[in-house]
């Protein structure tokens, strides 16, 4: 019988998406980074537990992180995993 904590954990993992998949206009809460460009993403402000606002979609997407507007490719956005909160 799974405990309530395990169920909550599974539900949370199920709701994880990449920034690439997140909808335009949503607030995205970064949980972890997964891919070869992690270090570079962290240096640019895409750190674990940071909040990102996705502004546009496309080949290169626009988003704001810590008040700074950033343009990043879909491939990089694919490596940013988290939850869309709004």
């Amino acid at each position: 019988m799974p405990t309530p904590q395990t169920i909550a954990q599974t539900l949370q993992q199920d709701s994880l998406i990449s920034l690439e998949q997140a909808k335009v206009g949503c607030e995205f809460h970064i949980r972890f980074l997964n891919g070869p460009a992690c270090e570079r993403l962290r240096q640019m402000g895409f750190c674990e537990s940071m909040r990102v606002k996705k502004i546009t979609d496309g080949r290169n997407m626009l988003c704001t992180v810590c008040g700074t507007k950033m343009a990043l490719s879909r491939e990089l956005a694919h490596q940013i995993i988290g939850q869309a909160t709004a």
């Binding site: 570079r40 240096q43 640019m44 008040g67």
Partner: protein, 630 residues
């Protein structure tokens, strides 16, 4: 006062205003812009603290962390970590941060504190932070980080005295990295830094409601629009080039009038003879025919400076990334290539911001094909001749001029695509990521200082290389003296006439005789010399009235014929000549910079040979096809 001079290094993320602060502290005039990577090498200057102590200050290229990959970021990392053979570790680090984006910038701050150097935090751009509604508490920030924090606005000169006071002796102690614990892995260290930054910002830099739309966002909704954004970019580029030609006409007229006045004054104030001829025709005529293009060069640098300073350049790179990726480059290559329209040298140096070494090499290789300002004199001489109309801002001339720029640019993209494929993929794939800074009002003082610098470099070039070449050319076409008083016979008898004859076989397939060939040869050191060389080899007389030197030269060229009576400057031969100037790499300083940036003369020599052969072949093909149809 101690004899030793402390060295202070300005370190921080790109585009936080380090160079603006450097200029404000030292009174210098280093180039500043509103996009990442304007500073691509370390620069040093000096200033005095309020206590009269002299301090050496280093302006380091921006870096996001101590493990950056691009060459400019590695320069900063090497110095900060004490691994630079020439530059010892600075006594003090001034970490410049953007107060409006502290969460991102403090990551480097914590890494720098961990290095164990004495440090001061320069909280720059407080005006923008205040405008964005961020509630900053510098005292709390200082307490959290354990270092002195100085709020400032470098571009307004605010907070500079306080910063200078904080650099006095005794220097502050190095802060301790309280967020780290013994035995932490790199991953754990990173998470600890993130947590500490979030806690710090939560109390010392509180943000307003995230939904608040700033003015920059509203502007971006239009400028980065998938359709209107492109339209505005194209219109901006067109207006940029149109403005250069339209508004520089009047000052160019003044310079020409000044040159004619000087020639007349010198000519009438001394006896006729070789010295008179050397001064009026050789020196004033030769140097003047190049100096007359100064207004256009000033205009070009002013407009590019305006775009850089406002923050639009980064948006242009974002828009261009999709297009550039089709030729194997990224949006980051757009800024160096656009700068190359002004001058290939800063363009090539700006490639240091490109992460991929192969992409950087390809960008360096094709950058000289962006028609730089030195080609303008040649285009302005030849285009009206091609269209059989006087020089002026006609639509036809503007269209041909645009086509010349387009031919160079398209060829550069095609060659880039081929070369990028040939070099193969990067060992580690680099994806596009760029910071879009908030729009700023242009910093007029720095734009004007930058223009003054570039204009002075151009005038210095005219006063040294071009002056020397003008004198040599004058001597070559004056000696040995012939007994005839006919200028044409004198020219044929002179050393220049003989050289022209011997090199003619090389230029005949291009539709040109030895005289044009000689003018082309002289312009291999600096291509703008071509106009003065042509004026000298075609023996253009000083005009009696206010007629322009180029008009006289054009009239002379229109009259030029081959020995069998055929006109020499036909549509085909002029197109061939224009193509040669689009493609040939005729700039020694550019080759020197390519060698330095690629770390190999082989690459510079290969580029020179490739471009020269390419130019010759393209000109031959154009002339042969053109003459066949005409």
């Amino acid at each position: 006062m101690s004899d030793t001079m402390d060295t202070v290094a300005l370190a921080g993320n790109p585009n936080v205003g380090k160079t603006t602060l450097f200029n404000a502290l030292t009174g210098g005039n280093q180039k500043v812009g509103n996009y990442s990577g304007v500073t691509i090498e370390k620069k040093s200057g000096q200033f005095f603290t309020p206590h009269g102590r002299k301090v050496r200050v280093l302006d380091l290229p921006g870096c996001y962390g101590l493990g950056g990959e691009s060459p400019d970021q590695q320069i900063a990392t090497r110095i900060l970590m004490g691994r630079d053979a020439e530059e010892p570790v600075p006594e003090l680090i001034v970490n410049v941060v953007d107060a409006s984006a502290l969460e991102r910038h403090l990551m480097l701050t914590l890494e720098l504190i961990e290095l164990g150097h004495p440090m001061v935090l320069a909280l720059n751009m407080i005006d923008i932070a205040e405008r964005n509604g961020i509630r900053l508490d510098p005292a709390l920030l200082a307490e959290q980080l354990g270092i002195a924090v100085v709020p400032l606005q470098a571009n307004g000169g605010k907070g500079l005295i306080e910063l200078k006071q904080s650099l006095r002796r005794p220097l502050p102690h190095a802060a301790s990295a309280v967020w780290l614990q013994a035995g932490m892995s790199e991953e754990e260290k990173h998470l600890a830094r993130v947590k500490y930054i979030q806690d710090t910002c939560a109390i010392a830099a509180r943000r307003p409601d995230a939904a608040q739309v700033a003015m920059s966002d509203r502007i971006d909704q239009v400028l980065l629009h998938p359709f209107f954004g492109w339209l505005i970019l194209l219109v901006t580029m067109f207006v940029l080039f149109w403005t250069i030609f339209r508004f520089s006409e009047t000052p160019m007229g003044w310079l020409e009038a000044g040159q004619e006045w000087l020639q007349a004054k010198v000519s009438t104030s001394m006896a006729a003879g070789d010295l008179n001829d050397l001064l009026t025709q050789g020196i004033i005529g030769g140097v003047g025919s190049v100096l007359v293009f100064l207004p256009q060069i000033v205009m070009l640098f002013f407009l590019i400076g305006l775009l850089e300073s406002s923050g639009y350049m980064a948006r242009a790179a974002f828009l261009m990334d999709g297009f550039m990726s089709r030729v194997g480059l990224s949006g980051k290559a757009f800024l160096p290539l656009l700068s190359s329209y002004a001058c290939a040298i800063p363009g090539i140096m700006a490639t240091r911001t490109i992460d991929s070494a192969k992409e950087r090499l390809v960008t360096i290789f094709v950058a000289p094909w962006m028609s730089c300002s030195a080609r303008l004199p040649v285009y302005l001489l030849l285009v009206p001749l091609l269209l059989h109309e006087p020089e002026g801002g006609s639509t036809r001339q503007a269209l041909v001029m645009t086509a010349l720029y387009a031919v160079g640019t398209l060829t550069a993209f095609l060659v880039a695509k081929v070369l990028r494929k040939k070099l193969g993929p990067d060992p580690q794939k680099h994806h596009f990521m760029i910071e879009l800074p908030p729009y700023h009002k242009p910093q007029w003082s720095y734009i004007f200082r930058h223009i003054t610098d570039r204009a002075w470099a151009f005038v210095k070039n005219a006063g040294t290389i071009i002056l020397a070449i003008s004198i040599i050319l004058w001597a070559l076409q004056t000696y040995p003296k012939s007994t005839s008083s006919d200028p044409a016979e004198q020219l044929a008898h002179s050393a220049m006439g003989r050289i022209s004859q011997s090199i003619e076989p090389l230029f005949r397939p291009l539709g040109h005789d030895g005289k044009t060939g000689a003018a082309i040869l002289t312009s291999f050191a600096a291509r703008e010399v071509f106009v003065s060389s042509m004026a000298i080899v075609h023996h253009v007389e000083e005009a009696e009235e206010e007629s322009q030197t180029r008009s006289s030269l054009r009239e002379n060229l229109q009259r030029s014929t081959w020995p069998d009576g055929r006109p020499m400057f036909t549509t085909a031969s002029l197109i061939s000549l224009l193509l040669f100037y689009i493609y040939a790499l005729q700039c020694l300083p550019t080759s020197a910079v390519v060698a330095r940036e690629t770390g190999s003369w082989k690459w510079a020599v290969g580029q020179f040979l490739f471009m020269t052969v390419f130019a010759w072949v393209a000109s031959v093909v154009a002339y042969q096809i053109g003459s066949h149809f005409s």
